[in-house]
Amino acid sequence: MEMIRAEQVRYVYKTKYQKVEALRDVTCSFETGKIYSIVGESGSGKSTFLSLLAGLDLPTAGSLCIEGRDIRTINRDKYRMEQASVVYQAFHLFPLLTALENVAFPMTLKGVPVKKAREQAKQLIKKVGLEDKILKQYPQMMSGGEQQRVAIARAMASGGTILLADEPTGNLDTKNEVHIVKLLKDLAHRENYLVIVVTHNRKVAYETDMILCMQDGALIEVQENG
């Protein structure tokens, strides 16, 4: 099912001295139950596109529809809270909250009672393959792989089905990279998530269902993996 559709999306931002066209007429669509990768050189517009997909900014021109509704017309805070989550290369967990509290955070934000949120958070942590001992650990006490799993669990905790990942394996060793990619694939294929991964890593890209190649802000190629 088509979840996101981008039509002629342009994005221009201003720096101190000039205007930069970060995205140029990007047209593509994303379906649930699939994992996509966006690849390209630095400055190709991958992260900017991800930022628009996360509703953190709006296209300068063109349309970006979420479930058929233009992103300009929807409550983007609510969209991020309920539908789309982002995981980052640097994990970005709250350093002063434990793993459990980090994962429970999006639920408490939505008003889920603390106790219930913690229960659900425990299950999500288990789901991403972490043991109970991690629950009370602070991010700095965990390995990179563990932190990224917790970040994915937190993304899942929002209850949405769109997971946007910005270089999720960038700071991980090969073993953890494999685990995380598998986890993301499982989310797409088993849990029916729409997973979009921005990556430099060709190995990761080849694990996804579809590869979108970007160059100088334009989508130059869409490649379906067998």
Partner: protein
């Protein structure tokens, strides 16, 4: 959300505790400085109102002259020193450029009011014995160059019981007095003088006996013109006469001198029924009121407007009010008939009823002085005199009434019986507190060396300088407190907010609305701010109250211990006001710190929120 925020704040204990303690310390300094500064300002204002600076003026004698006078007892001339003035300087010399007065200089007169209807303390004295107008005859022919015994044939003024008795008489200050003949009668003003002396006395009373003698008084009038010049007596001849006693012959009392003596008796009778009245422009210019020896114990002072407009209101001494059943609002009948422009009433009318004479109180034509001002005054205040405050010139006189000088319409140049130079007890003015140096600098330029000015400020200069120092210290505390608060809020908002911009970005990415992000970041800091500022400001309040009370007490003691009790009621209050002030200030300081902190936090949070979350959270800048 708030819970998570507080949780995160609590998990930075070093930052949290240090912020709490430092904000408490700066809140304490801020409150302490503010309370002390406000207290000091209010104290300075109170002292401005309570303290009074007056100057008294005295004309310096041009030279001292030696004068001689015969002393019959020592059979030799006695040397006396007499101050000589080049001329009597006018008060107008005190009006010069740079002289800033609250109450302009005045040279006060006191007036004699003929008050036969009132009970006066001076009536109970022995004035009637001290000066007598009588006819006397010697018991034998004699020359009164020593004490001789005379019989009192008739008393015109004085105790009637003297009539028919004998007393000792001596023309004490005349070397060769006129002889007295036994069969003749002489009219004379007798003045009680000193111990009787000489061969006659010792032969009769025995050596070592002590009896007072009378000497003959002058029969010439002492009356001054408005220019302060002594007026010429119509009997100038007698004025120079050494032996002012006159043989009574048929028709003597129809003669000028006979009439004069009878009028002198009437004048003395009036004097015995005289009540002193002082005219002024401000009660505080009277030294006894200034130094607290006299104070209004009932009713009120005469108001500025009343003084200015010359309203017929007065202040009376308690004893006079009690002796005459007068209360506030009662009317006092004043009949002024002489003016003394040289002395204070205290020099002649003592509160205990004793006092001295002031000549014959007749004019230069030998007539009795006529009443020149006959008015009714309303009592607005009753004053008391501190026990033991009788200091002669600088004291209030017995029964002395104070009135606005402007209320005495005919005050100028009427029946002036004494006129002298400006003296500290008759001439004074009031200047603003703390302006002595400025005044003296101007006086240095425009004044004259013949006038000596003495200032009294109740120690205001020292206290003001102490308070100014204290004000500066409290201002330093206040500024340091403010700077500390500002610095801490900026520094810690950087730590707690700016440094947490990634946290804000994560929260935004997780869908937290901006207003919730604000609340999230603010809540933790606000709790610490609230706790720290409340703790610090309360401590500051308590501390400042104690310090303030202690210091104020020091100033209070320094300021009022030497001033009469009456001043104490005007003194700045210490205690309860400080508690309220400390409470209000600490509350205000707490609110200020919190609002300031919230303001800075919101600015910083908004700066965080302006940043694009993905940009912050991505490892790379925009791609």
């Amino acid at each position: 959300m708030v819970r998570n925020s507080i949780k995160q704040m609590l998990r930075m204990p070093v930052r949290g505790v240090s912020f709490l303690l430092l904000i408490a310390a700066s809140g304490m300094l801020l409150t302490l400085g503010a309370v002390l500064w406000i207290t000091d300002n209010s104290l300075v204002r109170s002292y401005e109102d309570t303290f009074i600076t007056i100057g008294t003026v005295e004309q310096k004698a041009f030279s001292v002259q030696q004068v001689t006078r015969w002393d019959a007892e020592r059979k030799d001339y006695q040397l006396r020193q007499k101050a000589v003035y080049s001329k009597l300087l006018p008060v107008s010399l005190l009006f010069f450029e740079g002289a800033d007065y609250i109450h302009e200089p005045e040279k006060r007169s006191y007036y004699g009011s003929y008050a036969p209807d009132y009970t006066l303390v001076s009536k109970v004295n022995n004035a009637e014995l001290a000066t007598v107008v009588a006819e006397i005859s010697p018991l034998e022919d004699c020359i009164p160059d020593e004490s001789v015994k005379v019989r009192v044939n008739k008393v015109f003024f004085g105790s009637p019981s003297l009539e028919g008795t004998s007393l000792w008489f001596c023309n004490h200050h005349t070397q060769n007095p006129k002889p007295l003949q036994k069969e003749k009668s002489y009219a004379v003003v007798l003045i009680l003088h000193s111990w009787a002396h000489g061969a006659h006395y010792e032969a009769e009373a025995g050596a070592g006996a002590r009896t007072l003698e009378y000497i003959p008084g002058e029969t010439a009038a002492i009356q001054y013109g408005p220019d302060g010049m002594l007026m010429k007596d119509s009997l100038e001849r007698e004025w120079a006469e050494d032996s002012p006693y006159y043989e009574v012959t048929d028709g003597f009392y129809d003669t000028d001198i006979g009439q004069r003596l009878l009028n002198a008796a009437k004048g003395l009778y009036m004097y015995a029924n005289t009540q002193p009245v002082t005219g002024t422009n401000a009660t505080i210019l009277l030294m006894p009121f200034y130094n607290g020896d006299a104070y209004i114990s009932e009713g009120r002072d005469i108001g500025e407007e009343e003084y200015k407009e010359g309203k017929q209101v007065c202040l009376v001494p308690r004893k006079f009010a009690e002796n005459n059943s007068l209360t506030l609002g009662s009317m006092v009948h004043l009949r002024l008939y002489y003016t003394n422009n040289k002395n204070t009433a205290g020099q002649f009318f003592r509160p205990d009823g004793s006092g001295g004479g002031q000549g014959l109180l007749i004019d230069v034509n030998g007539k009795t002085l006529s009443v020149f001002e006959d008015s009714q005054y309303t009592i607005v205040g009753i004053y008391d005199i501190s026990y033991g405050a009788d200091q002669g010139s600088y004291s209030m006189g017995g029964d002395e009434i104070i009135v606005p000088v402007n209320s005495i319409k005919n005050r100028d140049a009427r029946n002036i019986i004494a006129y002298g130079p400006m003296m500290g007890y008759t001439t004074s003015f009031q200047i603003p507190n703390g302006s002595i140096e400025k005044f003296l600098a101007a006086w240095e330029k425009y004044g004259t060396e013949e006038l000596e000015i003495t200032f009294y400020d109740m120690g205001y200069s020292q206290i003001k300088s102490g308070l100014e120092n204290r004000k500066h210290m409290s201002l330093v505390l206040l500024v340091v407190g403010l700077l500390m608060v500002s610095f801490l809020l900026l520094f810690y908002s950087h730590l707690f907010i700016t440094n947490q911009k990634k946290r804000t970005a994560i929260e935004r990415c997780l869908g937290m609305e901006k207003k919730k992000c604000r609340r999230s970041l603010l809540s933790g800091m606000l709790i610490l701010l609230l706790a720290g500022s409340t703790l610090g400001c309360s401590l500051g309040g308590v501390l400042s109250r104690h310090i303030s009370i202690d210091l104020n007490q020091v100033y209070y003691d320094a300021s009022y211990s030497s001033v009469a009790d009456v001043k104490a009621k005007d003194a700045p209050k210490v205690g309860s006001e400080n508690t309220v002030l400390a409470l209000v200030t600490s509350l205000s300081a707490t609110v200020f710190i919190i609002l300031f902190g919230v303001g800075i936090s919101i600015i910083k949070i908004d700066q965080n929120l302006k940043l694009e979350p993905m940009e912050l959270l991505s490892e790379k800048r925009r791609e």
